[in-house]
């Protein structure tokens, strides 16, 4: 490779072509940013977003043109791809940053210990104060119960499909798992409402909500676990079986631990998904402003439902609460996600990569 850093003096070696110096992209980036600001000021564009777009466009075009002149067509295309990839990445960061910024800025107004440890109680929607304790507790309990139902069934089903399933039953189960991923969440809620509450005559409860949520959770668990189990090399199974270990112990002691990282990630993502569900909770948990620590009896609340209702109440006090609750919910899911990734990395099967 040539180590030339000056454009004007091409390397004498015939093997290396002309190269742009390593600082060239930076200079082009700064240059296009400055030009974009100038254009923006002159043309009187108010939106900073537009300035950014112009800068990105200038950067892509400029790096292509310069590279094409100095380094030739092939290198220029490479530069073009690189700058496009960078621009796409930065483009994706904008919405995330904006989303998080909005939530934090609007949510931190009333977010404090008082907010976390008090329910709404008898406070009206238009009054200042109140908190999310009842909703947080409801979400935690319902999600935990839903996971208790869905994770074992999902795991075992996936094990059946990958390790045992050959016949018709496996095919039918696979088909229905596919169908199940397409359930609109409100339909799961209606189903539990009809069977559990209207036909069987049980009361509204966190448990009923957990059942509806578990219906939404199961297909995600099955599919992700299935993929992870398929990644386990057959050599491991064969070695274990060859050593005379019974198949069930092979699965429990060899297959599952090998894929536990991926499985946990899948389960956590499923949990994250159901944590944000509003419709089933509204239909079968009922919602309340008071603390109910018993998920098996009486109405409970949940965070997404709380956000939805506070937003619908439509006044500044309730908007503040809605955003603060959204902040809590995102924080909760973020922590779960972090834990999931931690476990995944910590226990991931050691591959060659």
């Amino acid at each position: 490779m040539s180590t030339d850093t000056v454009i004007k003096t091409p390397a004498p070696s015939t093997l290396s072509a002309a190269r742009l110096p390593r600082w060239a992209p930076l200079v082009v980036a700064l240059g296009s940013a400055a030009t974009a600001v100038a254009i923006g000021m002159v043309a009187g564009l108010h939106s900073r977003l537009q300035w950014g777009m112009i800068a990105a466009l200038l950067f892509v075009v400029a790096s292509y043109v310069i590279a094409a002149r100095v380094e030739g067509q092939r290198q220029a295309k490479d530069r073009l791809a690189t700058s496009l990839v960078w621009v796409a990445f930065l483009l994706a960061i904008i919405p995330l940053a904006s989303l998080l910024w909005e939530t934090v800025a609007r949510g931190s107004k009333v977010f404090d210990m008082y907010f976390l440890t008090h329910s709404m109680g008898t406070l009206g929607d238009r009054e200042v104060g109140g908190g999310i304790y009842h909703a947080l507790l409801g979400t935690l309990q319902q999600v935990a119960l839903a996971s208790l139902i869905a994770v074992p069934i999902g795991l075992l089903t996936a094990i059946y499909l990958v390790e045992y399933g050959r016949g018709k039953l496996a095919k039918v189960v696979t088909f229905f798992v596919d169908v199940m991923t397409g359930i609109p969440s409100i339909v799961a809620g209606l189903f539990v409402l009809t069977f559990w509450i209207l036909i069987l005559g049980f009361d509204f409860s966190g448990w009923a909500g957990a059942m509806a949520l578990s219906i939404l959770m199961m297909p995600v668990v099955v599919r992700s676990t299935e993929e992870m189990l398929k990644l386990v090399p057959n050599e491991l199974r064969e070695a274990s079986l060859a050593l005379g270990v019974p198949k069930w112990r092979t699965i429990l002691k060899v297959v599952l631990p090998t894929s536990i990282g991926g499985i946990t990630t899948g389960v956590m993502l499923a949990v994250a998904r159901i944590t944000g569900e509003t419709a089933p909770v509204l239909l079968v948990v009922w919602g309340t402003n008071f603390i109910n620590t018993n998920p098996f009896e009486g109405a409970q609340s949940s965070l997404p439902l709380y956000i939805y209702q506070q937003y619908a109440a439509g006044n500044s006090a309730s908007y503040d609460r809605a955003w603060a609750a959204a902040l809590t919910l995102i924080g909760f899911v973020m922590i779960l996600n972090l834990v999931a990734r931690g476990i995944a990395r910590w226990k991931a099967p050691k591959t060659g990569r």
Binding site: S47, Q50, K77, D78, A81, T82, V85, A88, F89, A92, I93, L96, L99, L100, E102, P152, I153, L156, T157, Y160, Y164, L169, V173, F176, V177, D178, V179, M180, T181, G182, P184, I186, V187, L190, F191, I215, K230, N234, R237, E238, A239, L241, A242, G244, P246, K247, W248, L269, G276, T278, A279, Y308, Y311, A322, W323, L329, I330, V333, M334, R341
Partner: protein, 336 residues
């Protein structure tokens, strides 16, 4: 599935005489009590899951039949949703249109960006950065859809006025990009929001696929003097193409069924508007959310019937994704 009898069992220490592994694998009838219990448990779970699904499917079909038998309009051609009228009249063409159009917009925007980000993480970003960046993208997947909805309505929509006016100025003649200056709460806005929502799913799956692309090919290409882009174009993208397609299908599945975010951002109507920038149209999930609260028993049945259509569409998407994934396996021959 290819876990079965590809290789002869490696030589084993015959601690005691057991039947070869192969035999046990073929026969589902487990020989030991432990095996029998475990097989029973896992098969039982499969059956439980099947029962639940069967019950839901039966429930949906039953209520759909109830609704459709009283519909005085044609379910597939009526541009109206009036379940309270006597006789009730409702149909889904607007919903099919809105759902499909908004999802396609979302895909058109999200797929290129997602592929670029996936490439960025797998091939461009500095090693130390790629982990945190992947986590940041994952965060987008974890944000609940109601928060997306609020953010979309309060923050994104007002920013789009400028863009839409610009589109109208230069592309208004096409008829698709006409903008008459209302609040930007159109299918286009929904498509943009959905694109942001499905970006992480597509990115994640694509990233995994790109990371699995054969290192030998890449190194061979590099050794022949290819640039980084040429390596990606010649060895990474062909390998990952079908993976990206199935990832997009997964994303499409989510876009089709999104409820609260769409209901908060869209200004729906039961007319099909040629322009994507003016309010109009609707989606299945949004329509269910908007009509459900005031619907009587029959109205709910009608909404469930529309839910069943969404169900069928989602199933088709899933089926297509599975087919492609299966094809990819044949192509790559990977023992994944």
């Amino acid at each position: 599935m290819d876990i079965s009898t590809t290789k002869a069992p490696p030589p084993t220490e015959p601690a005691d005489a057991r039947p070869p592994a192969d035999d046990r694998r073929k026969s589902n009838s487990a020989t030991r009590p432990g095996d029998r219990v475990f097989l029973g448990l896992s098969r039982g779970s499969g059956i439980v899951l099947l029962t639940i699904m069967g019950a839901i499917a039966a429930f949906l079909t039953y209520r759909t039949v109830l609704a459709l038998s009283d519909n005085s309009g044609n379910f597939f051609t009526t541009f109206e949703w009036d379940t309270a009228a006597t006789p009730p009249k409702f149909g889904i063409p607007v919903l099919v249109f809105g759902t499909v159009v908004s999802s396609i917009i979302a895909l058109v925007i999200a797929v290129p960006i997602a592929v670029a980000i996936a490439l960025f993480i797998s091939h461009y970003a500095p090693r130390k950065l790629s982990g945190p960046i992947a986590y940041v993208i994952d965060l987008l997947a974890a944000v609940p859809s109601i928060v997306y909805g609020l953010w979309g309505a309060l923050v994104v929509a007002p920013h789009l006025v400028g863009l839409y006016s610009w589109l109208d100025d230069y592309l208004g003649w096409t008829g698709i990009f006409e903008y008459s200056g209302g609040a930007p709460r159109s299918l286009m806005t929904v498509g943009i929001l959905l694109a942001i929502m499905i970006l992480p799913i597509i990115t994640n799956v694509s990233r995994e696929v790109f990371l699995q692309s054969p290192k030998m090919h890449e190194e061979a290409a590099l050794a022949l003097g290819a640039t980084r882009w040429e390596v990606i174009r010649m060895s990474v993208l062909p390998f990952g193409r079908s993976g990206v397609i199935s990832a997009s299908m997964l994303g499409l599945g989510r876009a089709l069924g999104e409820t609260i975010a769409v209901a908060t951002v869209l200004s729906p109507s039961f007319l099909i508007n040629a322009s994507l920038l003016d309010p109009g149209g609707g989606t299945f999930a949004q329509n269910i959310a908007s009509k459900f609260n005031e619907a009587d028993e029959f109205g709910r049945d009608a909404l469930i019937a529309s839910g069943l259509v969404l169900f069928v569409i989602t199933l088709l998407v899933n089926g297509a994704a599975r087919l492609i994934i299966a094809r990819r396996k044949e192509y790559s021959g990977a023992n994944a």
